[in-house]
Amino acid sequence: MAKVEMNVNGKAVAATVDDRTLLVEFLREERNLTGTHIGCDTSQCGACVVHVDGKAVKSCTMLAAQASGSDVTTIEGLAGGGELHPMQEAFRQHHGLQCGFCTPGMIMAAIDIVNRHGPDVDEKTIRHDLEGNICRCTGYHNIVKSIAAGAKEMGGSMKQAAE
C-alpha cells in the first residue's frame, strides 16, 4: 500500500491506497470528485485531464502515488464563490458541449492552453493543442470558439486582478 498526500483543489488530503491506484481512480473513488471522467482508459481521449502542479496531465496515465506531494486541480476546483470560471462560462455561452462527457477534460485542457499561449491564442493553435482531447458530439467548432472567448475573458480578469 502507498501513502499519498496531496493538495486537491486547495485542500490537503491524505490516504493509503493500493500502489496501482491511478490518479483518476483516487480522485473519483477516494475523493468523490467524479467531474474528472474516464473515457477511453487508453490515454487517448483526454476526458481525465487535470492539472498537476499547474500542468495539464492525463490522470488515467499517472499513479496517485506519483502525484503525492503535488498540487492537483480538477474541474471542481475552478468555480469560486458560486461563479463559474471564465472558461466554464465561455463553454456555456458558446454552446461548447452537447453530451458533456468530454467537457471537464476540455476545460482543463483549455485553461492549460491559455496558460501556455496567453489570452490571444489563435484558432490554429487551439485546434492543434486539442490533439489530446476527443469529443464525439460537437465537431469541435464550438469548443474552439468557447476556448478563444474564454481565453480573452481570462486575459481580462488577469488584467483586472493585476490592477
Binding site: 502507498a2 493500493d18 500502489d19 496501482r20 491511478l22 482508459d41 487508453t42 490515454s43 483526454g46 485531464v49 500542468k55 495539464a56 496531465v57 492525463k58 488515467c60 496515465t61 499517472m62 499513479l63 502515488a65 506519483q66 503525492s68 485542457a109 492549460d112 492552453i113 501556455r116 493543442d129 490533439e131 489530446g132 482531447n133
Partner: protein, 263 residues
C-alpha cells in the same frame, strides 16, 4: 493493471538497489503505464526516478548540448537555447503525443524503451549522441540494438544524453493518423565533414542509419541527392497501418523533406 509495488527513489544508488529482477524504472510513465493497464507488462516493482536530483534539465554551451534523462518532451520543445542550437530536436519534442503527454513523457524513458516508432532514437543516431548512464557512456550507434532492445544492462539507468549541435538538421515524420506515432520519421544532421541520418517507425529492426543516404548527402546535401537511393522493402514493417512497400516509399519521402527543411 496487475498488482505492483511503487517506490520513489531518492538517489540513483537507491533506485538501483530496489529494481530487483522483475522491477521496472518509472519515468514519465506515458508508455509504461498504458502498457501495464492493458496487462501487457506486469512489473513486480515500479521505481519512480522523477524525484532524483540532477536528472532533469537542458544545458547548452555553444555547440555542446546535454539533456537530462527526466527532461520532458514539453521542456525539450520549449527551451529557446536548445532550439537555437538544434531546432529539429525541439520540433521533435513538440510533435510527440499531445500536450498532456508531453508534460509527463521524458527523453530518457523514450530512449530506454526504444519503441520502433519512438522519435528520439532517430535523433540520437543522427546527432551521434552519447547516452550517459549511472555506470558508463554509450555511443548511440552502440546503444540501440533492435526493436525494444538497447545496450542497457539489467538495472542500468539512463541519466542524460549529450551531443554536439550539427551545422544543419531537420526532422520530418509521417504520423499514423490515429495514434500519431511515426510510420516513418527521418532525422538528418549535417556535421560539416559528414551527414548522419536516423530512420524510425519504419524498419522491422527498429531505428537505423541508411548508409546509402548518408553517403549521397555527404557528397551533396540536397533532397535531389536522394533520388538514386533505394529503401529495401524486405527490411520494413508491414501491418494494418501500412505495407512494407508503402513504408519504404515513406522513408525516402520523409528523408527528402527532412533535408529540404534542414537549416
Amino acid at each position: 493493471m496487475y498488482e505492483t509495488n511503487y517506490h520513489r527513489a531518492d538517489s540513483l544508488a537507491d533506485a538501483a538497489s530496489k529494481i530487483g529482477e522483475e522491477g521496472k524504472y518509472l519515468s514519465g510513465g506515458q508508455t509504461l503505464l498504458p502498457t501495464m493497464k492493458q496487462r501487457l507488462a506486469a512489473p513486480s516493482d515500479l521505481i519512480d526516478l522523477s524525484k532524483i536530483n540532477g536528472l532533469s534539465g537542458i544545458e547548452v554551451n555553444g555547440k555542446s548540448v546535454k539533456i537530462g534523462a527526466m527532461t520532458t518532451h514539453a521542456e525539450v520543445a520549449n527551451h529557446s537555447g536548445l532550439r537555437d542550437a538544434c531546432h529539429a530536436i525541439s520540433e521533435m519534442g513538440g510533435w510527440i503525443g499531445d500536450p498532456h503527454v508531453r508534460h509527463r513523457g521524458t527523453i530518457g524513458g523514450s530512449i530506454a524503451n526504444n519503441d520502433p516508432a519512438a522519435d528520439y532514437p532517430s535523433a540520437m543516431l543522427a546527432l551521434n549522441a552519447t547516452i550517459h548512464t549511472d555506470q558508463r557512456e554509450i555511443a548511440a550507434d552502440d546503444f540501440f540494438t533492435g526493436m525494444f532492445d538497447t545496450a542497457l544492462k539489467e538495472g542500468e539507468i539512463v541519466t542524460a544524453v549529450s551531443f554536439t549541435a550539427p551545422e544543419k538538421c531537420g526532422y520530418e515524420k509521417f504520423r499514423n493518423p490515429a495514434s500519431r506515432y511515426a510510420m516513418a520519421g527521418v532525422f538528418v544532421a549535417h556535421h560539416g565533414d559528414a551527414v548522419r541520418v536516423g530512420v524510425t517507425g519504419a524498419s522491422s529492426g527498429g531505428v537505423y542509419r541508411p548508409a546509402d543516404m548518408e553517403e549521397a548527402l555527404s557528397d551533396n546535401f540536397s533532397a535531389d541527392a536522394l533520388d538514386g537511393c533505394s529503401v529495401d522493402e524486405g527490411d520494413m514493417l508491414s501491418d494494418i497501418h501500412g505495407s512494407a512497400e508503402y513504408r519504404a516509399h515513406l522513408v525516402k519521402v520523409m528523408a527528402k523533406r527532412a533535408v529540404a527543411a534542414a537549416h
